[in-house]
Symmetry: C2
Subunit: 187 residues, 2 copies
């Protein structure tokens, strides 16, 4: 793999684990087995490399979500498939994690891909919920935008609870609690 690629992937990994404030250029270089000069040749600095890495992670999240949400099955099945798909729960969400970082949230350039990712995800989920309403799976009384936000929040909050507990259990509980509620509301 080329140096640039190794730098981006190492940055993604470190941003995921430690966030922007917790990740130093030196640590990225070490992980990528690249020298100081090499990194600064390809990128203007920490912020630019981080921007590219965040955009890459954002793209991965979208692709993964689309795989479940755009697949086959009824609206309910696709949402449950998305909720239930295999996840590295204790690592958390590689994009959501960045929302905790003051220097990401405080910098329009770094925050943009994070904001767009979740705006897209909520919109995508809302479409599926709306579809479920049209098909009669979900009751008319459910608001698509609200329900979509709730689904996204349960996942992001599930990660938080799991990392706090040091166990995936609260994540699983939260997701099952949501699927139960969706099922109950559809009766």
């Amino acid at each position: 793999m080329e140096t640039v690629e190794r730098l981006i992937r190492s940055a993604q990994e470190l941003l995921w684990e430690r966030g922007y404030v917790g990740t130093s250029p030196k640590a990225i270089q070490r992980a990528a087995r690249a020298g100081q000069g090499s990194m600064y040749h390809h990128f203007a600095g920490k912020a630019e490399l981080a921007k590219v890495a965040i955009e890459r992670s954002a793209g991965e999240l979208r692709a993964a979500a689309d795989e479940q949400l755009g697949g086959a099955g009824t609206a309910g099945e696709r949402i449950n498939g998305y909720l239930g798909r295999e996840r590295a729960v204790l690592k958390g969400c590689q994009v959501g994690r960045l929302a905790a970082d003051p220097e990401v949230v405080g910098d329009p350039v770094l925050r943009a891909p994070v904001a767009e990712t979740f705006a897209w995800l909520r919109q995508r989920l809302a479409e599926v919920v709306a579809e479920g309403k049209r098909s009669g799976e979900f009751p008319e009384s459910l608001d698509a935008a609200r329900t979509a936000a709730t689904i996204a929040a349960v996942l992001q909050g599930g990660y938080v609870l799991a990392r706090a507990a040091g166990s995936p259990e609260p994540f699983e509980l939260a997701v099952h609690g949501l699927t139960d509620l969706l099922k109950e509301a559809s009766k």
Copy 2:
């Protein structure tokens, strides 16, 4: 206010904003208007001060939650009261934020108060849900532990979505989506 107290409160504030990896002893001292030697006289180091500050924040979260959850009203009213109470949404949760920090999650001493806080909160919420089941407000089919985890996750995830968006809106949507689902499930 005494120096020790100023140090603890400044540490709480900085941990909330920037997390453990993003907070330096020097920054705490500056915020507390305390000298270097003063801080190290009262605390063994950054980790010990952080521990005290985290425990303080954990206590505040519990007290605030108990105010709503232990108040008057039916189970549903108390849960809605807890969900709807005024929050500094864009600041996020002062305890949940720490679950993103690798050095908090990786250190048993620092993680303990975070883990205990959410274990307590989920338990407390589960009690209220169970009460609602007994009173007939909630259907027997709702699992108390799952529903409690879902409620806690919606709040924590709502903060994540709001900070990502730079707006409290997704938080409000997620919370309303949850109250809608709870209402729908109770029909």
